[in-house]
């Protein structure tokens, strides 16, 4: 069998660090900081282009 693993949320619980990094970026752009739940909704969405290809 070939097992293909996702990383964030599957192997590692990284949501808080992801939220912190996203918030730092957002703040640097003079936008609001983001909480974990907001970043959770955003995470992984870039894969859509792969999955629909």
């Amino acid at each position: 069998m070939l097992l293909v693993f996702d990383l964030d949320g599957t192997l590692v619980d990284s949501i808080h660090d992801l939220a912190e990094a996203a918030s730092d970026l957002s703040e640097a752009s003079a936008a609001a900081r983001l909480d974990d739940e907001t970043v959770c909704r955003m995470s992984g969405k870039a894969q859509r282009s792969w999955s629909s290809g």
Partner: protein, 164 residues
């Protein structure tokens, strides 16, 4: 980068056990180098993974050749995508591969377990992958399934691991 990020309990041991009998790859939006650092930081056996990072493919220098070979000849029915989110579920469905979702993952909150069907399962702890993969490998769909991969009817493909 690693203030609070941790591997889910049992992940490293489970990956080590799976590496004995299965080829493994990591699919992530992160660059391959960053993904490898995250795995290493969390004590996971990242060196045995092939990394499918953001626009990159990097076969592990320490990976066993037969594992890479196994990956290259893998078919969709001999592949399981292990994820946690509705994006992972959609990815697996688009690719026609089996899927196993980690119910403990932060992405699972947006998955409706009632929509899982056929070769789509979820697990409650990393260790559950061992029995599930063993069962899936020995399900009889492929005559080249190796010996010793037993079949557990309770985990047979076509049944969900557990209902909510």
């Amino acid at each position: 980068m690693f203030d609070t990020t941790r591997a889910y309990p049992g992940t490293a041991d489970t990956l080590r056990a799976l590496a004995d009998t299965h080829a493994m790859a990591l699919l992530t939006n992160k660059p391959a180098d960053s993904a490898r650092k995250v795995l290493a930081h969390c004590g996971s056996t990242g060196s045995r993974h092939m990394i499918f990072g953001d626009g990159e493919f990097a076969a592990s220098r320490t990976g066993r050749p037969e594992v890479a070979h196994e990956a290259h000849r893998a078919t969709v029915k001999r592949t399981i995508l292990v994820g946690d989110s509705e994006v992972d579920l959609a990815t697996a469905r688009a690719g026609g591969v089996r899927v196993c979702l980690a119910r403990y993952g932060f992405g699972f909150v947006r998955v409706d377990p009632a929509t899982l069907a056929g070769d789509e399962w979820f697990i409650d702890q990393p260790q559950d992958l061992l029995g599930l993969c063993s069962s899936a490998a020995g399900s009889g769909s492929h005559p080249d399934s190796g010996p010793g991969m037993g079949s557990d009817p309770a985990l047979a493909p076509g049944r969900r691991r557990e209902r909510v």
